[in-house]
Symmetry: C4
Subunit: 482 residues, 4 copies
């Protein structure tokens, strides 16, 4: 049985809501309240083709996972398919699409990307504005976002000379898993918005150098697709966004265990969505480009502007996790090592150690959650100074604001096993796909090895706290453009 | 009996001074020396129609309160009324009026106002330049104005994770009165300059969330009109600018007691006017727009430029208040709770506690009075650190520089019961009237609740000093434009 | 006997050097080596009319003081006078002169000058570029010049409230002499460059409020002319630049004693000239305006660029003054009170007290001498903190960087008897003559009184160190333009 | 025997590689792996004329030193010479060459260069872009480059007055060798890129004032040519970049001993090349000027961008130097005094003293090597504060960020025997040749003497630590443009 567009169009509200995705019809009426992004975004497409909105942000297995087979209503009719295809073909390109098309042709050769700022610059040019705004955005006025990076500027090196460094080894281990560099790909959602191959670009790019990838709960590819793309010697961790309902929450753990993911990184810094102004405002910017400025009509209702992409990802999360309840439950349901992602205070680092977790990722979600959260490097520094014994009890990682090999080395000197990068990988895969990811790693490898050698360090263990100093003046801003 | 324009025009100096307001004639000869704004501004309109200058800054009951019935001379003649109306109608719009008209049409829809900076931006567009300059202006070089806001940047959060926050309650009490948020509308004069409904917009906007409003002595609506606009569950306080003459000073206390105001906030930071360059200069900017630049003529007298709107409000104030005299007098004349508004040092906070007042509002009048007064947040921080016991003896509030929910939460962590906003409400009501005020509160509610949850705080009492840290570096400026 | 231009022209080098000034001929051959500005500047006019270069920088009695009667050769012939007058009349105006002419017509009315920055802005417009560059210039990169002002920004007030201030008295005494405000006109040379009446504008402007004026050794009017312009109740001090030769050095002391000057301020911070790039470069800027850019010719000699106006004033100064020798000599030759001007360290403040002088003026010559000299306010603060007893032994003054009444009040709180302003008076008299000077004093009076009242201080003695705090953050820059 | 271009062209790859330089043919096949700049740059010219690439960066004796006589194959034929000459003559000038030509004509007269920033400005105009980028470039984001200079801003003077300074002597000794100023020309490579006479300009410019010159291992003139250009009373040191192979490493020591160099400065901060983005990117800038922007082709290989000029200089260096091995070896092979150049921590200064070397040059290679190396002045300050006795054991020098005489005096106050400048001399000789170098010294002499006198110091020994203070605020940026 097939469906005409007219039949589908009859199911256009919450009482009966059908949508077309890739020429198939789905009844999502019952699913509406469960949608992590809320029902309103679906209802916008009720009774219509939702493919272009659906595909860039959902993994391929989402429809199978979320809808029962009875809700898969079958394909549209051939006539309907033709009409949809014609509509698609005749759609005029928006100004932003035309801009992106042009920018893609202007990308510099890969070997002219000397550092991560260069890569970000290309990504900013070639990304659809809305995607760039989502990737780049941060909470409120983006103070924390910027302070994360600035924090690295306050730490200078005490370089040591006359030490043999012709051989220099930057390899280390994370939870026992090999990596050629003390870095990892921190979880970052919705990679497909930037490139059709999405997260798999990161997976493949990380393979040669065995860089650990933390796969996001909100990955735009299925966990299976990502696992399938990985090489046998490669390590994948799972960024775990725990849902309220323990039974549902358990499902994804079982799935990633089965797929060979090696650790669980429980996100604790995103119990509620923040406001990311740049993200929310991005649609208006595009709307103004296409349709001109929208103005206020006296007395018009104040419809909520929503929370952008960020908000829609976490509607059903567990907002009542505790050390006493959540950690034992996790330990009881899985043997995978457990990392707490989103530690933002020395006090909670201590509680994590007491709770016996395997590692903590000091992170404020790249400045995307609590505005004025202390920069991770500052937390690391305090932990190192005030409670050095904690580093013996669990592994400590950091992410947020890492832009240069010097940043990574500073973090390692202060006790971090590794430093993560999120946006950098999103930007790289958006700009150049898999080779972009590899380029980022090559750049960091060169920068890390150069820094180690010029510091007089021949191996990771040589990177000790006495090599860095937190200076008492205000250094110049990071990443001055040449 | 009615008056011709010619008859009125005969009374055009201090020896006999008549003015026309709303087609009625008043003899203000005896009132001249009592006018808080000084006599010269009245004499400018002596023998003429003063309506357009009078109405936007005086409450409707001012003429009745200030003039005896014998000074109400009665209406102008019909002919006179016609001439005045014709004159009014034929007045050409100024460049600034045309600009405002245009800007009002360009206001963005309310739901595109994401934060208080967005709101201020709209207000700056739609306000008459002179009004904007008055609202926005501050003392001297506006250092204190800016430092008030910058002070919040030095305080970062120690966010706590793994704490239940699905239920999060931001409500608290101010002098025992309920409020859904730890904020209040701090007194701000002359709201009618920005919107015909003036202070009532704030009153109505605050009603649904029970936000306390401190009504200014210099409100442009009568205290009765404001009280009448309030809802029964709503709380109004009175910002009390004490006059020299105790008998006169008592009058307004008796009035607001009768009207149901719940507390008196005695202003102590404005015993003399400051210079607010932006305010004083605003007329010249407009004058230059209309009539071109004015130049110096060798030897011309140096007529005083005056002190702008600010100066005219406080000519007859009591400049000799003391703890020993003024507080006991106030206690003797009223049972209303007493808050001292304008505390600017730890020492005076202690004296206030010793004097047994109910609360102090740490404030430097939004940077409008003493340039280089310490930012209120810094005073609060010192009081918290040096004299924590004071917080047990009286309630402490703060205003000045609050722009974000994070600012409010920081102040509450440091011991403030609530943080006030002044200009934000003026801007909001100017731009959108009552719904603008509600929007401001909605924004702050979202920001405060998000901040609390991401901090791991489920109720106001969870906001404790250990959650904030005053950092030793120079953070980025507040409110970076996106 | 009169001289033809041809006869004068025969004496055109160092072997015999005549110049014409105001139609009279002078033989300056023997004077050449004694000229404080060096001989080369005179030789440029040898055998020619030097009037236009000579007059704006020399007092009227200079020719009588410096040349013997036999060197006064008498007037030029009538023919010569006609030719010179014609030449003068036919001189085309330079671009800069035309610019100044225009700017003079555009000056704002005096009552639109609200603060000292406004006044400086007018002066910058109406001054010949070379004069502005000389007044405004400072050593090297002008760091100290700017830091002098910025230092005030680090000091905030602890305002006190509930203190009677309806009566507020800003008067004080300097070395026992009355002044209505704790300010003085610090010595500043060459006022005639900015206005034909020069220093006398300052004298007359200071008279009504009894502001002390320190007259510069290098004043462009004679000490007698300035004294003659002063009112009986007014106080003049003398800024004494001691020459190498004690006998010559004594002359000016005897003169100013006779003229009724009340104190000697010995300059100790200008034993050699600094480089003031802006001053030196100013002629090139003008030259480029008139004649286009000058370029290098391979192999051309590197003729010294000189040291600008500053250098020429101090060629014959005593570079070997000591506490042991110079102070006793001065005490032995005069009974006038003695102030050391140019103290730049706590150590020297102590030595000055031990040497028994009457006062010290902490100053780095307005940032015009030693680059990276500590800001005077910082020295004052250290002296107050480290050696409070010094303030009992001598009077302490300060100058450099004072822009606002708040600056003055801060200095007084920290122990200064008064704060001096130099450029502010030069700018004011250049822009508006005597009334400009009075305007500056009026502005400061308003600002000082307002600050005192808002601080809770009713008299100078109420200004105590506890009212100011040196903050530990980087406040915003001084004098933000509105 | 002579060679036709066709014959040479047959040897165009690594199996047999011939190049033409100045009309002579060389077989560099065997030399390829030994080339410090790597083989690829030579192979670019295999079988072709390499003169224009070779000459500006190689000393005249390089071909004799590096190639055996059998590899000198003899001249090209007359026909070939004609063709090459014609080709050279017909080469069109690039945009950058035309720009430089124009800029050379616009250089200001030498006496209008008032300070080192002025000189740098001229150099920036007249240098080929690629050369400027190489000279000016620094590691990564050039933070350390800038912080080196900013560090001087944090040190202010405690000027002392009333001290005899009419006589003021700035002369001192470096390792016993006389110098008229406490400065030296720090080693800087490839001076010929900026001026045909290259390093010899510096040598000759330094002669009159006996300024010590440290000649770079990578000088673009032969050590002999430089020695020959020096005057008998002048002192040359040798910046020694030790090669892996001790026998080869010894050769240059023997050579410079023979030539009369007076000390060896062993470079220890450049064991591996850094990334200097500005340097690497400079060719692309030029390429874009000539040929337009280059774009990425999907799938194209990522050929390494190389490390610019910097990288090519140090391919065969000793990366395994140690205090235990390298110092004794050096002491065993030469009696010349030994300075360690590139000390970047207090700890290594102590080790250097223990190793008994004669001096240390605290330096981070002008910010060109390890990004976030502490500024040399900060290291000096810490050494002075923490380990003052080290200054008795060896001589301490500093380089990096010196721009003004005040900078030099600050370093000397803190214990440095002298402060070095590198880029300043490269810029000066590029802009004006030898007289440019002399100008730089004249400027510094004037600035140093003025600073000493205004500080109350009559000789170098008077420059003591109590005259400087490290301030606790953020001073204004260095070298504000007027």
């Amino acid at each position: 049985m097939t469906w005409s567009l007219e039949e589908v169009a009859n199911h256009k509200d919450a009482s009966s809501c059908w949508v077309i995705i890739d020429k198939c019809v789905y009844d999502v009426t019952e699913f509406l309240p469960e949608h992590p992004g809320g029902s309103s975004i679906i209802l916008k497409y009720a009774g219509r083709d939702a493919t272009s909105a659906y595909k860039p942000i959902h993994p391929s297995d989402a429809l199978d996972k979320k809808l029962s087979s009875s809700q898969h209503l079958g394909p549209v009719s051939d006539d309907a398919a033709k009409i949809l295809a014609k509509k698609e073909a005749s759609k005029e390109k928006t100004k932003d699409e035309l801009r992106v098309e042009q920018a893609m042709k202007q990308r510099p050769p890969l070997n002219r990307i000397l550092n991560l700022s260069d890569m970000e610059e290309v990504a900013k040019q070639v990304l659809p504005y809305k995607t760039w705004a989502y990737y780049r955005s941060a909470a409120d006025d983006e103070i924390t976002f910027q302070e994360n990076a600035q924090a690295f500027n306050r730490f200078f090196f005490h370089a040591r000379v006359m030490r043999p460094v012709s051989k220099c080894d930057s390899s280390t281990r994370i939870l026992g898993f090999e990596t050629s560099l003390p870095i990892f790909a921190s979880s970052a959602a919705l990679a497909k918005l930037g490139h059709p191959l999405g997260e798999v670009n990161i997976t493949r790019g990380c393979a040669p150098s065995k860089i650990v990838q933390i796969v996001s709960t909100a990955a735009s590819l299925s966990y299976a697709e990502i696992a399938a793309a990985s090489s046998p010697s490669q390590t994948l961790f799972f960024q775990y966004y725990k849902l309220k309902d323990d039974t549902v929450a358990l499902k994804s753990i079982r799935e990633i265990e089965r797929l060979g993911y090696r650790a669980i990184c429980l996100s604790v810094d995103i119990v509620v969505p923040s406001t990311r102004d740049r993200d929310v405002k991005s649609s208006w910017v595009l709307d103004a480009q296409e349709n001109g400025v929208k103005v206020y009509n006296e007395g018009e209702a104040d419809v909520d502007a929503g929370l952008g992409n960020a908000g829609s990802l976490i509607v059903n999360g567990d907002r009542d996790m505790t050390w006493e309840k959540t950690i034992p439950w996790l330990r009881s349901v899985t043997k995978l090592p457990l990392v707490i992602k989103g530690i933002q205070s020395v006090e909670d680092a201590i509680l994590a150690a007491e709770a016996g977790v395997d590692g903590i990722l000091i992170s404020n979600h790249g400045g995307r959650q609590l505005e004025y959260s202390l920069p991770p490097l500052e937390i690391l520094y305090r932990l190192r100074t005030q409670r050095p014994e904690i580093f013996q009890k669990l592994e400590v990682y950091i992410d947020g604001g890492v832009r240069r090999g010097t940043d990574v080395v500073k973090a390692v000197c202060l006790g971090a096993k590794a430093a993560g990068l999120g946006r950098a990988f999103l930007y790289a895969q958006s700009a150049y796909g898999e080779v972009g990811v590899r380029k980022v790693i090559d750049i960091l490898e060169r920068e890390i090895l150069t820094t180690m050698r010029l510091l007089g360090a021949a191996k990771i263990a040589d990177l000790t706290p006495d090599l860095v100093e937190r200076v008492d003046w205000q250094p110049l801003a990071h990443a001055v453009k040449l």
